[in-house]
Amino acid sequence: MGSRREHILEELRTRLKVIRTAAGYATDAGETVFMGEAPELGPDDPPQAIAIVVEDETPDHVAENVHSLLPVTIAALAKANLEEPWMTAEAVLADIKRAVELADRTLGGAVRLRMERGITRTMQREAGSETVGIAIQYRCPIVEKWGDP
């Protein structure tokens, strides 16, 4: 039996993995999804990839129930169109929002009330590089009974 955190992360990964052009998305960013690791990719690795970065969970109420906020950042890298690199970044960002922000904002009941969107950042292409990046944070409020994650 998995914990709420496991359910949240697994559900996010499942949603991100559907990002494929064959499924109607603009990019294939979901082809490679890392979780629990942010490897330094090389020129021979897939041009597009996503990393699910779990940030520090902050409890804001600790009693019989523990209320806390779990921030999760979805970071993505993509090979840019050199004419319009910003369009590549925006396409990946839009795909992530479409895939993650479904009607069920509780991620299968693991999130209390609803998850929310946090900071969004785009990392522009640097001289000599073909890569652009984006990062979008989702904040997942969770309630655990003490000793029952």
């Binding site: 890392f34 942010a38 330094e40 990719l41 090389g42 020129p43 690795d45 990839a49 990393a51 970065v53 950042t73 970071a75 993505a76 890298l77 050199l82 950042r121 990392m123 522009q124 292409r125 640097e126 001289a127 000599g128 590089s129 073909e130 890569t131 652009v132 990046g133 990062a135």
Partner: protein
């Protein structure tokens, strides 16, 4: 003692020994004539990009050295046709910035130009 001629000789020798044939075409509307010369690929730098994030990739930055006497100007967007390695097939490149400029040569940061590769019939 003037080192200018010695420096020019060293650059000539290096371009002859380590250089690859290069065709430089300034971008529209700067335009200008196509220049055929030689250039040297210098050691690739593999930067982690993008900066300021946890998830990054090593992107090799390609730097091509051209003699300033051969090309008057090489603004960003200039297209270059040159083999990636000595004796290899011609590839398309685009000037993306200047890494360094000396009195007699310029080190250009270039990126592969997929459109030009297509024109040249190079496999991606």
């Amino acid at each position: 003692m003037a080192f200018g001629p010695l420096r020019a000789l060293a650059l000539d020798l290096n371009l002859g020994a380590h250089g690859v044939p290069v065709t430089v075409q300034p971008p529209y509307p700067t335009d200008g004539a196509e220049v055929v010369t030689r250039g040297i690929w210098v050691t690739q730098v593999s930067d982690l990009v993008p900066g300021a994030t946890e998830f990054q990739r090593h992107d090799p930055r390609r730097v091509l050295v051209l003699r300033l006497g051969d090309v008057a100007k090489v603004p960003r967007g200039t297209t270059i046709i040159a083999p990636a390695i000595m004796g290899g097939p011609n590839r398309g490149w685009r000037v993306d910035g200047v890494a360094e400029q000396q009195q007699d040569h310029v080190r250009l940061v270039v990126v592969p130009d997929a459109t030009l590769d297509e024109v040249l019939g190079v496999e991606p």
